[in-house]
Each structure stands twice: as structure tokens, then as C-alpha cells.
């Protein structure tokens, strides 16, 4: 159960695709902690890149 919680019920007599519904939906917000973690790592990489660039020898 990728969506969680019950909203409305539909009795489907065929595969969900036939009714224009996704067969295995998930709430994408489920991955939000992992997403913020990647954004945090990218932010660190950005800071590190800037420090690396400015700490190099002066030309």
C-alpha cells in the first residue's frame, strides 16, 4: 500500500490501467527525507567546490 489511508473506494473489474488509473501508485512524499538528504549533500559539495576554488594559489 503505497498511498496510505483510505479515501474513496472503487470496485475495479479489470486492471487499473483500463480505467486510466496507475497500477501501483506511491505517495512521492514518502521519499522526502531521502530527498532533503541528497539536497544537503549537494549543498555541501557546492560549498566545498567554492572553498576549493578560492583557497588555491593566487594568480
Amino acid at each position: 500500500d503505497g498511498v496510505g489511508g483510505d479515501g474513496a473506494f472503487f470496485l475495479l473489474l479489470d486492471e487499473p490501467e483500463v480505467y486510466g488509473l496507475p497500477p501501483d501508485p506511491v505517495v512521492t512524499t514518502r521519499d522526502l527525507p531521502a530527498m532533503w538528504k541528497r539536497a544537503g549533500l549537494a549543498a555541501l559539495a557546492m560549498t566545498a567546490a567554492t572553498v576549493f576554488a578560492f583557497l588555491g594559489r593566487r594568480a
Binding site: 496507475p22 521519499d31 576549493f52 576554488a53
Partner: protein, 325 residues
């Protein structure tokens, strides 16, 4: 991705239109948002360059960085308000702070970053003020105030550049959501590349040595972080094919050309400016490419249905015979 003969590809007519409803509501975002991805990144990169130049005693580069940050964040505010439709809606966003909404988090990041970048940039006019009177006082106060604001803006800049990756990924749009590990790195690299480009165009060559290294580091970050995009399987397809695929590819080529040209441009102002222009253009192409890729994946139901059906079949042990399991 073999699709011939698999039962999962239900004829499109059946799942594109059930009472005329698409399977996935495409985002209501207009091109403004693609533009904002670029200008927001440019502002963040400008603030970081401004702070780096400030701390290493490069006043002309510092000025260029701070003006880039202010220009970028002003354009961002315009684009976001234009996309929302009415300025009042931006104010409504400030009535809540919600960690589970990247849009809310982003609104707050911009609200903190914008004024700081503005103060840092305006402080740069201090040398042009008269020496005496009230303006003389402002002339003496502006540099330290600008320095503090510049550092504070730089501290929030990485968040401004990378949260947009979460903003796109936290949607049901298949090509954005599946790309969530890559998008922040692509955006971080693209932001630094764009701002380095502006610096290479506008700052005197004697102060741009860090930008040549920064452009290289930016390209490395973007390419390493983004190499997963095309390898994602079906949902990676919009990053390889069609209009969006061409934009992503153009962005990558311009990035490589710009970063390499920057390394060899120390003695040539013309080559410096050209490499800078390539870096800026690369960032524009990458942002619009990623934006268009997501839109393309939202419009075609196969990107929503096929991966989900495969996942479902795998879980229920009904692997298609073609896969040889």
C-alpha cells in the same frame, strides 16, 4: 527496455483517456519555473563567489558576485510572482512554514536570501558616496554591513541552489521523482557554472583565477551527479530523447567546452568572455532540459504506468517471460 509483446503496454488509447482525464495531472508550472531554476541558481552562485572574493581580497570580483546575486534573486522573485499570478500569493506563502512542502521551504530560503543579497549589493556603491554629511556616514557604514550581509547570503546560497531539486522531485512526475538523487547535484553544479560564467565575462582577468577552478569543479559536480539521469531506464528516456534530451545534451556539451576554455583563457579577455557565455548558456539549457523532461514524462502515460506495472509484477512474482526469470 523491451516492450514488444509485453502485456504491460496496454494500448495508449485506453489509458490516456478515461472520460478524457490524463492519468497524471501535469504540473501547472509554466516556463517561468524553468527560468527560475536558472536565475535562482545564478543568484546562489553569485553570492558564493562574492563571499569568496570578499574573504580573499578581490574587490572587483566581489562586486560582480554581489551584483549577480541581486540580479538573479530579483529575476527569481519576478518569475515566481508571475507564475503565481498575483503578488499577494507570495505573501500568502509567508503565512505558513511547512517542512514537508519544498515550495514553502523555498519561499523562506528566498525571503532570507533576497534582502541579504540586496544589502550586500547596494553596499558596493559606498565609494561613490560623498565623504561628508549623512551620506558620508553611510559611506563608512556600508562596507562592514555589506560584508556581514554578503557572508550571510552566501551561507544560505547552497540551500537556495539545491532545494529546487527537491521541489521538482517531490512530485508524481516520473522523470523528476526517479531523479531525486541526481537533481540537487546537477542544480548545484549548474548554479556555480552560471555564476562563474558571469564572473568570467564581467570581472577583470587579474581576479578571475578562482573562477577557472570553480568552473571546473562545477562541471565535475554536475557531470558526476547527473550521470545517473540517462541511466534511469524508461523514466530516463526524456533526458536522452526529444526536445528535452537535446537541451540536456546541449547543456552538457556547453558545460564541457566552457569549463575547458576557461582554463586556457587567462591571457585572452575574448576567450574568457566566450567561455563565460558558454557556461551561462549551459546552465540555461540544462534547466530548461530538466524542466521539459519532466513535463514530457507527465504527458505520456507510459512513463507512469510501465514502471509501476513492472514493480507490481515483480512483487507478485509475475515477471514477464521475456526477462528470462
Amino acid at each position: 527496455m523491451t516492450r514488444g509483446g509485453e502485456r504491460l503496454t496496454v494500448p495508449p488509447a485506453e489509458f490516456t483517456s478515461y472520460y478524457g482525464r490524463p492519468i497524471l495531472k501535469p504540473p501547472v508550472w509554466k516556463r517561468d519555473i524553468a527560468g527560475y531554476l536558472f536565475t535562482g541558481g545564478l543568484a546562489a552562485g553569485g553570492a558564493l563567489i562574492g563571499a569568496g572574493a570578499q574573504l580573499t581580497g578581490r574587490p572587483d570580483l566581489r562586486q560582480v558576485g554581489r551584483w549577480t546575486a541581486l540580479g538573479g534573486v530579483t529575476a527569481s522573485a519576478y518569475l515566481l510572482v508571475h507564475d503565481l499570478g498575483r503578488p499577494a500569493r507570495f505573501h500568502h506563502m509567508l503565512r505558513i512554514a511547512k517542512l514537508t512542502s519544498p515550495m514553502s521551504v523555498g519561499t523562506w530560503i528566498l525571503t532570507v536570501f533576497g534582502p541579504l543579497a540586496g544589502v550586500a549589493a547596494v553596499a558596493e556603491i559606498a565609494p561613490r558616496l560623498p565623504r561628508h554629511g549623512v551620506l558620508g556616514l553611510a559611506r563608512r557604514l556600508a562596507p562592514p554591513v555589506g560584508d556581514v550581509a554578503g557572508l550571510a547570503a552566501a551561507a544560505t546560497a547552497p540551500a537556495l541552489a539545491t532545494y529546487t531539486g527537491v521541489l521538482l522531485a517531490d512530485t508524481a512526475v516520473p522523470s523528476w521523482h526517479d531523479a531525486y538523487p541526481s537533481l540537487p547535484f546537477v542544480f548545484a553544479g549548474s548554479a556555480l557554472a552560471a555564476a562563474s560564467g558571469i564572473g568570467l565575462i564581467a570581472a577583470p582577468a587579474s581576479q578571475t583565477a578562482p573562477l577557472r577552478r570553480l568552473a571546473l569543479a562545477a562541471a565535475t559536480t554536475e557531470v558526476l551527479g547527473g550521470r545517473q539521469l540517462e541511466r534511469m531506464g524508461l523514466t530516463g528516456e526524456p533526458y536522452r530523447r526529444g526536445r528535452s534530451g537535446r537541451l540536456v545534451k546541449a547543456g552538457r556539451v556547453l558545460l564541457g567546452v566552457g569549463a575547458v576554455a576557461a582554463l586556457f583563457s587567462r591571457r585572452s579577455p575574448v576567450l574568457s568572455a566566450l567561455s563565460g557565455a558558454a557556461l551561462v548558456a549551459s546552465s540555461v539549457a540544462t534547466r530548461f532540459g530538466v524542466f521539459e523532461a519532466g513535463m514530457a514524462s507527465a504527458r505520456d502515460p507510459k512513463y507512469t504506468v510501465v514502471p509501476q506495472r513492472e514493480r507490481l509484477d515483480r512483487r507478485e512474482g509475475r515477471s514477464p517471460a521475456e526477462k528470462g526469470t
